[in-house]
């Protein structure tokens, strides 16, 4: 830090969870082992976790910007026409919530070294996620058949944008599920367990986001 003298070598070490950390007193460093604050093997998993966390923040801001516009227009437009939430959306929601449950069970199986059990539950999670997206597409088709297009009203437009944007982001989660389920992790820098954990953060986030969006659309009638 500026102002520290070379002789005194006053170090202001802030306990940091990331890289860095005070070198050993002997001045040895570089690739010499030992003395780290955390197991080096975990550094790859943690960077993915941090990346997912930051990505979730960015996605949240994206949806909150649209939600803010929804709320402003909902309250200021006297001719607002809401879209009745199709009954299928509730079924889709149940499927998504169940997929979060099966994902957690799958992770527990993996932690207990039950590879077969993990694969079955992970596959079930993936299928539930695909079922959710398919259900959303069916719901859109039902609305279009009933004459509810995005151009009909701002309420309908927001409905389609919210559900479509969420579905697009969820498909990213499905890709992650497939990657974790199908990839061979033998030579990888992260373990399957760590990859599953990071994927679970994103999947549960998508789950919670959908519940919020559904509440917004339902209560916004």
């Amino acid at each position: 830090m500026a102002g520290t003298s070379v002789l005194d070598d006053i170090e202001l070490i802030i306990e940091d969870i990331g890289g860095g950390g005070k070198p050993p007193a002997g001045g040895d460093g570089g690739d010499a082992g030992g003395g780290g604050r955390r197991a080096p093997g975990n550094s790859s998993a943690r960077k993915y976790a941090i990346a997912i966390a930051l990505g979730m923040v960015a996605i949240l801001v994206f949806f909150m910007a649209i939600a803010a516009a929804f709320l402003v227009l909902r309250t200021s437009n006297p001719e607002w026409k809401s879209v009745p939430v199709p009954a299928l959306l509730w079924m889709n929601t149940i499927a998504l919530l169940c997929s979060s449950g099966t994902l957690e069970l799958a992770r527990k199986r993996l932690g207990a070294a039950d590879e077969r059990g993990f694969k079955k539950l992970w596959l079930l999670t993936t299928l539930l996620g695909i079922a959710f997206v398919a259900g959303q597409v069916v719901a859109w088709r039902q609305l279009v058949a009933a004459g509810v297009y995005g151009s009909v009203s701002q309420g309908a437009a927001f409905f389609y944008v919210f559900t479509a944007a969420h579905a697009v982001h969820l498909m990213g989660g499905i890709c992650a599920l497939l990657y974790v389920g199908l990839r061979k992790f033998g030579a990888a820098a992260v373990t399957r367990l760590a990859a599953a954990e990071v994927t679970s953060y994103y999947w549960h986030f998508m789950d919670a986001l959908w519940v919020f969006l559904l509440a917004l659309l339902f209560l916004g009638k």
Partner: protein, 545 residues
């Protein structure tokens, strides 16, 4: 465990090289240089467009158009000029160009956290440049849609880059490189990455809705017979929430670069380094709070302009802190006026003088009644456009030896600096005056305005012509410049100067260094030198004493 750690880093370096060789290389130095090349191309196109705009403006008062143009075409050229300069020069170059090249070197990492993301973010930015540039050749309706698609592409690219840069700073630092020991440049890139994550998400959201209006027939923003409420003010709010914070995305890396250079070239530590970092954080935070200062004439709630005016004026506080840090760093230093230092000092001058007009523009009653566009144009060009460009040029002159193993010509550089410095002051200070005159309604004012517009065109042509010196210097030095085999020609303290010039592909041959001290141990007499590099350990230090 050591093998796991090394294997993970080897995999990162290997992935960066890429299975497809050069064109899809995701190696951080290659990606950084590509961003700088992209910025160079954009600035050439942007300056050419500004010449067209100036010729148009200086002739329109005469009532005839000497340059073939229509109002739509002029608006498209203005949009393209602004998009290229703000997105691809001021955002991509200081943050992604320098950031990608230097962050791993300065923190002691062999590669970025996610090398593939480096490549993806670059190609998305390149695609955005192609789309945004092509949009001007279409009809206004189609062009606007293509422009929006380019903006969405750019936003996603910047979010990915921000993710990559921030995780790299958090997770890839060498042993001993704690957050307080980070160079202030890395702090600035890190804070800018966090800011970018947030604001480009908002821009993406607003662009997606506008695209939905244009392509899917929705009516989020348009006024249709069945809607009595227009959402124009929502677009304004979104856009300015993004755009005002975007100013600081452009400026924060420049603050970091200039602070760093002032320290190196005055051979003094950064004055109150922690205060400088806090000031950077405050500037970033304030940037989120003052979008309303662009909406004083939009019919906001009557009390709102008061709030935004006070918040905008408060931005002066962290700005003054930064100025104090800079002057405190320079005070009593053994200043060496290299071209890089001249550009850094030029940045300070432009930031100060351009920022002073910002204090007046922050007042809602002043902005609404006393000024026309030219004063605002002069203000943001001085304080953001040209100042940031000076910081980029300072960084280029400083790190050119590290990047290319050669030096830029100092004589040509200094001549280029003085011509540009004089030119931009004459150009944009005159524009401030023009902005005040535009509000006057007298006949003599009209004659003066016409004369000033013509004068500005000549000055713009002269200043842009002076940039030829830089291009000649740059391209000639790339091939024939004085070789710089020394690792550390500027006697700097940070880690990038501990490796060869240009650096090897894995950055640190023979092992990643360990960091023992902060980044600004300057003015410390040691073994005939006046600095102690970050990586010199206690044993080596004892031998040198």
């Amino acid at each position: 465990m050591k093998e796991l750690n090394n294997r993970s880093e080897d995999e990162a370096v290997g992935r960066a090289r890429g299975a497809f060789g050069g064109i899809f290389s995701a190696e951080h130095k290659t990606v950084g240089l590509r961003f700088l090349w992209l910025a160079l191309l954009s600035v050439v196109i942007g300056m050419t467009l500004s010449l067209f705009m100036r010729v148009q403006l200086s002739h329109q008062a005469g009532g005839s158009l000497t340059v073939p143009s229509t109002p739509d075409r002029y608006a498209a050229i203005t949009l393209l000029h602004g998009s290229l300069m703000v997105f691809f020069v001021l955002t991509a170059a200081p943050q992604c160009g320098f950031g990608y090249f230097l962050i791993p070197l300065q923190i002691g990492a062999r590669e970025m956290a996610f090398p593939r993301l480096s490549g993806v973010s670059f190609w998305m930015t390149a695609a955005a440049l192609a789309g945004i540039t092509a949009s001007v050749f279409f009809t206004p309706a189609a062009g606007a849609t293509i422009w929006l698609l380019g903006v969405v592409c750019f936003s996603i690219g910047m979010v990915l880059a921000a993710l990559n840069l921030s995780v790299t700073v958090m997770e890839q630092r060498a042993r001993g490189m704690t957050m307080p020991r980070l160079p202030i440049t890395v702090w600035a890139w890190f804070l800018t990455a966090i800011l970018s994550l947030l604001i480009f998400s908002v821009l993406s959201a607003s662009s997606v809705l506008l695209l939905s209006d244009r392509l899917a027939g929705t009516h989020f923003f348009g006024v249709a017979p069945q809607f009595s409420v227009s959402a124009t003010s929502i677009w304004q709010r979104w856009f300015w929430f993004f755009a005002q914070a975007e100013v600081y995305v452009a400026m924060l890396p420049c603050f970091g670069i200039v602070t760093h250079l002032l320290s190196i070239y005055s051979r003094r530590p950064v004055w109150s380094e922690r205060l400088a970092v806090l000031a950077l954080c405050a500037v970033g935070l304030f940037g989120f709070c003052i979008w309303g200062e662009h909406m004083f004439a939009s019919g906001l709630n009557p009390y709102t302009p008061l709030v935004f005016a006070m918040l905008a004026s408060s931005l002066g506080a962290p700005s003054v802190l930064l100025l104090i840090c800079w002057f405190g760093t320079l005070w009593g230093g053994a200043i060496r006026l290299t071209t890089a230092m001249l550009f850094a000092l030029g940045f300070v001058s432009l930031f100060l003088s351009g920022g002073l007009s910002g204090i007046f523009l922050a007042r809602s009653e002043f902005a609404g009644s006393s000024t026309a566009d030219a004063l605002v144009t002069g203000h943001f060009h001085l304080v953001m456009g040209v100042a940031a460009t000076f910081a980029i040029l300072a960084g280029l002159f400083f790190w050119f030896p590290k990047m290319f193993g050669r030096r830029l010509n100092e004589t040509l550089g200094k001549i280029h600096f003085w011509l540009t410095f004089a030119g931009v002051y004459v150009l944009f200070m005159t524009m401030h005056w023009l902005g005040l005159l535009d509000r006057a309604s007298s006949v003599s004012a009209a004659a003066a305005i016409h004369g000033l517009r013509t004068f500005l065109t000549f000055v713009a042509v002269a200043t842009i012509s002076a940039q030829i010196l830089f291009f000649v210097n740059f391209f000639w030095s790339l091939r024939r410049g004085e070789p710089c085999h020394a690792k550390n020609p500027w006697r700097a303290t940070t880690l990038e100067w501990s490796v060869a010039s240009p650096p090897p592909s894995e950055n640190f041959r023979g092992g990643v260094p360990v960091v023992f001290r902060g980044a600004y141990e300057l003015g410390v007499p040691l073994a005939g030198e006046d600095f102690v590099p970050q990586h010199v350990g206690p044993e080596e230090l004892a031998k040198l004493r």
